[in-house]
């Protein structure tokens, strides 16, 4: 409850600061925001786009949040997402199956690819106490260069060296039915997968012995060890799940929102996932809302840019400011407490006055 208030306040302050920025740079903040939000929500098609933009963020946010709940800082969601997406693309371009079967295979491939990418840092941490921040960042670059080599070598597109062939329809998460229902939006089946992932992760964290073990390891590994919980196993399992989630983000991005994979890019959603998790205070349901909110800003900024002369970077700045406020939530919490105290004092005073008179 208190955490929710803090997150909402962070968002509010971020928006206020954005308004200030717009005003200072000589734009009308009301107009700016109107178009920003209209751009993300004006009609069902735009809202579909917002959800589609949010989908990979939900996965990467969940990935970071889940790792964090178990005491690990997964900076490598970008690499896991890229490699997972690559695995899914490779499967989609190679196998020849019916659509349902194919989707099961691409999703599985994406999960496993991401999990593999996170397994290595997990193993390094468990066996040699190598800090995961360092090793996951290195894995990001290994993924980057692996894709840089693999795509032109084996999956080269017809015209461009720098991207893979287009996925056939039966290997894509796009669904004509869904697109039409959302008025031609590029929303796809990924969003259902993402919501399902939120539910599953929330369930694992709160209701299962696995979640109990992993959290215990994350909070206090000495106590976990004392209780006979396998600390090293916990670290590896947790990284596997986190990596798999990021890998699914790759599936959603590269076989859903897009229909091929490009080289020379680390997906930004990997890093935005950290922001999402932070704003969500690492709660799965919070991740869902935070990701959709960020998706809204990202998909609305183009419209804002088209309709006004507010630069689209304002949206990025707002996100950055929100992150600052979320990261310094302790300050906001203090503020909340102070406000509550002042209110309580006032109530007490008026109660006393009431008694006196």
């Amino acid at each position: 409850m208190r955490n929710t208030i803090v997150s909402l306040l962070a968002v509010l302050f971020g928006l206020l600061a954005g308004a200030l920025l717009m005003a200072v740079t000589g734009h009308n903040p009301f107009e700016g925001y109107r178009y920003l939000f209209e751009g993300g929500m004006r009609d069902i098609s735009r809202f579909g786009d917002t959800l589609a933009t949010a989908t990979p963020l939900i996965f990467t946010g969940l990935s970071v949040a889940f790792a964090f709940r178990t005491g690990l800082f997964n900076i490598g969601a970008a690499g896991q997402m890229l490699f997972g997406g690559f695995c899914a693309t490779a499967v989609g371009l190679t196998l020849d199956l019916s659509k349902p079967l194919m989707l099961v295979c691409t999703v599985l491939a994406g999960f496993l690819g991401g999990a593999l990418w996170a397994f290595i840092p997990g193993l390094l941490k468990a066996k040699f106490n190598v800090h995961e921040v360092v090793s996951t960042i290195m894995m990001n670059w290994i993924a980057y260069w692996t894709i840089y080599y693999m795509v032109p070598a084996y999956f080269k597109g017809e015209y461009l060296e720098t991207e893979s062939r287009q996925l056939p329809d039966f290997a894509s998460l796009k669904s004509p039915f869904l697109s039409e229902a959302f008025g031609g939006s590029y929303i796809n089946l990924g969003i259902f997968l993402a919501v399902l992932a939120v539910i599953v992760i929330a369930f694992i964290i709160n209701k299962t012995t696995l979640g109990y073990e992993l959290k215990a390891v994350g909070f206090n590994r000495h106590a976990a060890e004392y209780a006979g919980i396998g600390v090293n196993r916990g670290i590896i399992v947790s990284m596997l799940i986190a990596g798999g989630l990021a890998g699914l983000g790759g599936v959603a991005e590269f076989t859903g929102n897009a229909s091929n994979i490009q080289i020379g890019k680390l997906p930004t959603q990997g890093f935005d996932g950290i922001a999402v998790a932070l704003l969500a205070n690492n709660a799965p349901l919070g991740v869902l809302f935070a990701a959709v909110f960020f998706g809204l800003l990202y998909s609305g900024r183009g419209f804002m840019n088209a309709m006004t002369d507010v630069p689209p970077e304002i949206a990025d700045s707002i996100i950055a400011i929100i992150i600052y406020f979320a990261a310094t939530s302790i300050l906001i919490e203090r503020l909340v407490r102070k406000l509550l105290r002042i209110r309580a004092d006032k109530r007490e005073q008026s109660a006393e006055k009431g008694r006196e008179s």
Binding site: K207, T208, L210, F219, A223, A224, E225, G228
Partner: protein, 508 residues
């Protein structure tokens, strides 16, 4: 009267509990003022408010006669108030100097000036006879030394009023004596001290006056010299407390634990336990007596599996367990009340109920097919909370961190005894407990024995060892010096053995 600190009619509420309800405590200049009360009575909370960690809901704090609002610890520092917390707050891979200047660093250009600081630390250390090496790393020094670092930290910041929250709970008897001397030195230099402790003997030895609180209310302030220990205990608990435990002679049966030439390395990779032999039988309590750091930790951790044995064997119920995983040892009936409750014993971020199933969560009825059964967990936790009188604001759902130190300890003891282990290893089980709780825990340990279980008791307190154990094994420098019958030994004999003199030599 010249008071340095007056806390008048203080009230502080936490969710579900009134921790302080109209408490008054006045500290005279140059006195040692003891603060006594049951576990969870509100002592740490009261001192937390004097140190600016919480603000009182009601009441007035006056410092040197002037009413003040201490909104955070920096304000307290400026007012010359310093505090050593119940659980130390030192950075373990920093040096003493780095820890002391942390948050208060003086600079020379752009770099932190540690040289001048360590000189000053050395001179303060000499002035008060603290004997602290400013360049030692925290992780390398004993708990007693760490505590003196905490005291130094206050003195470095020119504290006039020193709050010590259960400073002696983690100290060896020798260290306690030294601390007593240090406190006298401090008083001679014009400082004033508030001392929280559960040990009435210490209050008698060093304090001038004593304020007793019970369940958040002041019971009264007494002159220590004219009040007996029994009277203070009664004021605090509200009934008479027996200090002696009554127990019948043990009826030991078969051996449960047989340790044979066990050798274990300590954390510095040198031998901490050498060629150790010990036998613990069903239906007896074997006490391990010794000065801290003489192999007790290595012994306990080797039995529980937290540390690898170099050589030798540990036979438990006839089987050699040296290579068993920790989980198996627990499941086969080895219970362990760990020495460090916050490091090993509890996940502080978990609620009490979650901590109560730390070792059994994977078993029925607490979980089935990997799913936790919240109702069964709650019922189980409630039972432990009730029988061991674990007090907290919100019962089973309270966050463990919010419990008072003594109540955290009671929760661990409850958890371990409730599993009814065949072998219970209790390390300093009553550390930080009030006299009433100690009485109860001792009773439960003996009950365990009478049910035919084996108990291995490790304690630094000779009184406890002598009162509870049937046999006493004395360790020194990682070696077994000898084993004596508790009924036939004396404090004097144990003392000599703890210093390393063999039983035979003592007898002559």
């Amino acid at each position: 009267m010249d008071y340095v600190v007056e806390m008048l009619n203080i009230r502080k509420e936490f969710p579900g509990v009134v921790a302080n309800d109209d408490i008054t405590l006045c500290l005279r200049r140059g006195e040692i003022h003891a603060l006594l009360g049951e576990n969870g009575a509100g002592k740490s909370t009261l001192m937390g408010m004097l140190f600016g960690m919480y603000e009182p809901d009601r009441g007035i704090i006056k410092v040197r006669g002037k009413e003040t609002i201490i909104s955070n610890p920096n304000v307290a520092n400026r007012l010359g108030i310093g505090m050593v917390h119940q659980h130390f707050k030192l950075v373990s891979n920093f040096t003493v100097t780095e820890n002391i200047i942390l948050g208060n660093e003086s600079r020379k250009g752009l770099v932190i000036d540690t040289e001048t600081a360590s000189k000053r630390i050395r001179s303060i250390s000499e002035q008060y006879g603290l004997n602290v090496d400013p360049h030692a790393k925290i992780e390398d020094i004993s708990v007693g030394m760490q505590q003196r670092v905490e005291i130094l930290k206050m003195l470095y910041r020119d504290a006039e009023v020193l709050i010590l929250d259960e400073p002696t709970a983690v100290l060896t008897p020798q260290e306690i004596e030294e601390l007593g001397k240090v406190m006298k030195n401090l008083i001679d230099e014009g400082k004033s001290i508030i001392l929280i402790t559960h040990k009435l003997k210490e209050i008698k030895a060093v304090a001038d006056r004593c304020t007793v609180i019970r369940r958040g209310k002041t019971i009264g302030t007494v002159e220590v010299s004219t009040t007996s220990e029994a009277d203070m205990a009664e004021m605090m608990v509200g009934r008479q407390v027996t200090f002696k435990v009554s127990k019948q002679a043990a009826k030991p049966a078969d051996s449960v634990l047989r340790i044979d030439s066990l050798t274990v390395k300590n954390s510095k990779k040198v031998l901490g336990l050498k060629d150790f032999n010990l036998d613990v039988r069903a239906g007896e309590i074997v006490g391990i007596a010794g000065v801290e750091g003489n192999g007790q930790t290595e012994l306990v951790e080797a039995i529980t599996g937290l540390r690898k044995a170099e050589s030798g064997s540990i036979l438990y119920d006839g089987q050699n367990i040296v290579n068993w995983p920790i989980r198996t040892r627990i499941e086969k009936g080895i219970g362990h009340i760990p020495e460090d409750r916050q490091k090993r014993g509890l996940v502080l971020e978990y609620s009490i109920e979650e901590n109560m199933i730390l070792e059994v969560y994977q078993k029925r009825p607490f979980s089935k097919h990997g799913l936790l059964n919240k109702a069964a967990i709650r019922a189980y936790a409630k039972r432990i909370i009730e029988s061991f009188d674990v007090r907290s604001g919100q019962g089973a759902t309270s966050v463990t961190r919010s419990l008072s130190g003594g109540n955290q300890q009671k929760a661990i003891i409850g958890r371990e005894i409730e599993q009814d282990p065949m072998l219970l290893i209790a390390v300093q089980p009553t550390r930080g407990l009030d006299v009433g709780s100690i009485e109860y825990i001792h009773k439960r340990l003996i009950e365990q024995r009478d049910k035919g279980k084996a108990v291995l008791l490790v304690s630094l307190e000779l009184d406890e060892i002598m009162n509870i154990s049937d046999r006493i094994a004395v360790v020194n420098n990682g070696e077994l010096i000898g084993i004596v019958q508790a009924s036939e030994t004396s404090e004097h004999e144990l003392g000599l053995m703890m210093a390393g003199l063999r039983g035979g030599e003592v007898a002559q």
